[in-house]
Symmetry: C2
Subunit: 341 residues, 2 copies
């Protein structure tokens, strides 16, 4: 049996241009979750979506926006790279519950509940305290469940994450983070949380962002060790990739990413005063064309072709195919929007 | 042969509730173009769309949002009332060309280029001067052509309308107005403009809004005379209905409709100082359940069943089915977004 070794990247935060598209093709990428917003409000997110639509239109021979399992299949069949739009914050919703459905209809199929700061919904992994999911936050999670928008907990605080998994009637995602017992950072996840994610049926995307590992010094063997051990802990069908690759990004964007409009002082995000700029990436992952080397290393390490294929992309494909579906049975449910289609 | 006598209303500006839905069913309405905005900007239009989506969800047994010819067919097949969302202004686009596609993807399938005032795109029928379509306005019309959003000229000034028809590569609509040689008002349309609309392949929706006729005194015979004569002038396939019915609307809404945020003085819109409030409607058209009486009167007047069926709904159905399609051949065109899907 021949296994599909194409890659689905659980998050890619790069400067999209023809160079990147070529590298994605070279790396055998079938689908990417692309970041369509960090701090933007509803109006600003419309402009971001508009820019993406124009980019899709101008690159329709190489790219295809993906909002369903059928799109995943179609993109692959047509030899195009599928792109799932998501935001790393619920800021586009502002305080308006109906905007969950509005942005879902615009193809925002993944939303991270918080970025690096507390918001209307919950707290981030960088806040001193985390009160958990707010009243509004619970309704937003239920509404995301109803319309088929994936709840992403990657930058979310521990208690808010725990509450979100308890509130969610559907599996959730951590698209880009690592177990914190491999690399201890605020962004990486505890054993308790990953246990809860496993029991929830969710998927974890292992992250190559250097600040979530040992920086550029991290070896490919180290990464493969983490991958194999995490698969043992989570099960082979619940671990995938979310590189968080920041290919060819500007320093202006770094500042926006970390400081948004919320501070006038330097904030280092996952970085530090000693390492303030864009991190240096390991030699074995400079851009998406390096993915095949990762799969080879995993195979050489003794993982089965099936496990490697699942890790590289099939797990995300299965998860997104089900997760993007609207929850029809909500018809019958009592709830804030009971009677809804 | 049995003709489909169900009604497609080219514009209904009413307070949507269970009472209205019952009257729409009673009146054998298969589809309605509903007003989703008058003066609202992009952000405010998102909230309007969100409210409509929630209303659709809560009334999914009676209503179905329509964004394609297939939806028109499906709604009728399922015995539901199809609802096409449109805005009576291009204010949702602000100054951002990509928002045409964004709002099209949210199901705004009809946009009136201007409401009652000059805007970024052109001038209204109430401005003292009309400079015609602006530079931005030409690009917006081309982009609406590309994505399959209908250009509506009902409140638009004469020169801007002429320019729009010349710029548009596809047929346009006047969803709710009358020929001004029957009732001379600024809102009704000249022989020259309607000739141009006819040559463009567009459709005119005859309007029952009392201020565009002889008020409540207008008889059903008078209306039928206008319908028959306009069909002779435009051709039987290019005249339809657009009642502009304002059923059960509040005075707050009347003020918003006429004055928006743009004036602090009373503006009477199509009304007058003598007749400042919501107009009294003719006895023969108090609500949508009165449509069958109109078709009977047209038949009694000697129109063929085919002509009456076309006038009541088939003309809009054919026009919307083609007009809502994306213009695929734009792929090959040179233009502001050349290479677009």
């Amino acid at each position: 049996m021949v296994y599909d070794m194409s890659v689905v990247d659980g998050l890619l935060l790069s400067n999209w241009d023809d160079t990147l598209i070529e590298k994605l093709k070279k790396g055998n990428i079938s689908c990417v979750h692309a970041c369509c917003g960090l701090w933007e409000n509803a109006r600003e997110t419309l402009s971001n979506i508009g820019k993406w639509q124009r980019f899709f239109n101008e690159h329709h021979e190489s790219l295809m926006q993906v909002t369903s399992g059928y799109d995943l299949y179609k993109a692959k069949k047509e030899g195009k790279i599928g792109v799932i739009l998501g935001t790393q914050n619920t800021s586009p919703l502002e305080d308006e519950l109906t905007l969950v459905e509005v942005f879902n209809n615009l193809g925002i199929k993944i939303m991270q509940l918080t970025y690096n700061n507390q918001n209307l919904i919950g707290s981030s992994c960088y806040e001193a305290f985390d009160n958990g999911l707010s009243r509004y936050g619970k309704l937003v999670v239920e509404e995301m469940n109803r319309v088929g928008m994936i709840v992403d907990l990657s930058h979310v605080g521990e208690k808010t994450s725990m509450d979100a998994i308890e509130t969610s009637s559907r599996p959730v995602a951590i698209t880009h983070a690592n177990p914190n017992w491999f690399y201890s950072t605020k962004r990486n996840k505890s054993r308790e949380l990953l246990q809860k994610l496993r029991d929830n049926g969710g998927v974890l995307g292992l992250c190559i962002y250097p600040h979530l590992m040992n920086g550029a010094e991290t070896t490919l063997d180290e990464f493969c060790d983490m991958a194999a051990a995490t698969m043992e802990f989570m099960g082979g069908s619940q671990v995938a990739l979310g590189t968080d690759l920041t290919f060819n990004m500007s320093n202006d964007f770094l500042q926006w990413m970390r400081m948004g409009r919320w501070t006038h002082q330097v904030d280092y995000g996952a970085g530090s005063a000693e390492n303030p700029g864009w991190p240096k990436w390991p030699g074995w992952f400079q851009d998406p064309s390096d993915f095949p080397a990762i799969s080879e290393a995993l195979l050489k390490r003794g993982l089965s072709e099936e496990d490697v294929s699942n890790f590289l992309g099939r797990n995300w494909e299965r998860f997104f195919t089900i997760g993007f579906q609207q929850k029809k049975e909500m018809h019958k449910n009592e709830g804030v929007l009971s009677g809804n289609a």
